[in-house]
Assembly symmetry: C2
Homo-oligomer: 147 residues x 2
């Protein structure tokens, strides 16, 4: 198995920081910040919840413009953040506890939606970048008795 690099603990911290920046960009509706976090490659993939994959950095960027245009308010409380490393690739899974609002519900109403995200990052000379994201709803089940 390839070595995860000279300092796995540092790599994990870097990946978690990029992941946190991803959610901050989403919450703030900052499309430029969001775009800068993704790998600029034709095989970059984003699976928005319930949707088919969006493929290619350009298409992924446009999809975020659309998502942000339709999101008036969103806030994430991340739990179960787990990072795994293999050489220059990192996978991260986390539970997205989502707080949303629209014109009728204020931002103080907890939507209670929960999603599970799998994010795959690649190490580049400029830092870790998002290569693949797959987000999907979590249904209540036996594993999930914390609400």
């Amino acid at each position: 198995m390839p070595d995860p690099g000279p300092d796995p603990a540092q790599a994990r911290a870097e990946v978690e920081a990029v992941n946190a920046a991803f959610y901050a960009a989403f919450e703030q509706g900052d499309l430029d910040a969001m775009g800068a976090l993704w790998l600029d490659a034709p095989d970059t993939v984003c699976v928005h919840p319930g949707a088919m994959p969006v493929r290619g950095a350009g298409a992924v960027h446009r999809s975020w413009a659309l998502v942000m245009a339709h999101t008036s308010y969103i806030q994430f409380f991340l739990t179960d953040v787990e990072v795994s490393l293999r050489a220059d690739v990192a996978t991260l899974t986390c539970t997205e506890n989502v707080l949303t609002g629209d014109d009728r519900t204020g931002p103080d109403v907890f939507g209670g939606a929960k999603a599970l995200a799998t994010q795959v990052f690649v190490r580049t000379p400029d830092g870790w970048r998002l290569w693949v994201r797959h987000a999907a709803p979590v249904l209540s089940d036996a594993d999930d008795d914390d609400e």
Copy 2:
């Protein structure tokens, strides 16, 4: 960016073959074959549709025993299979068009369920192994007009 290896086309074919073996093992309820396809590591992850992640090769194996015990009939028609490579890691996305049956419905009834799977494979001395799987339902939307 790391080179995907001496022969990317061969690597893609190998990954697709392991992916096909995964679905064959699921369809046949062959738990041994399924278990052999996964990376034997504590950071192996499987996200069954709508569920929280199962982490660790042993727990993933037990989860498949449970899934298989509750599946009387399942058949997959895969579409949109796409493989991407970075060094010794491959990501694969595919649409799972699912045919299922239970005691009441015969296997000739098309369930019509559709899921999207993201699978991450790692190259080992024994071949490519599943490191992370995230499967989730696809809802009908504008991107999906082929049914």
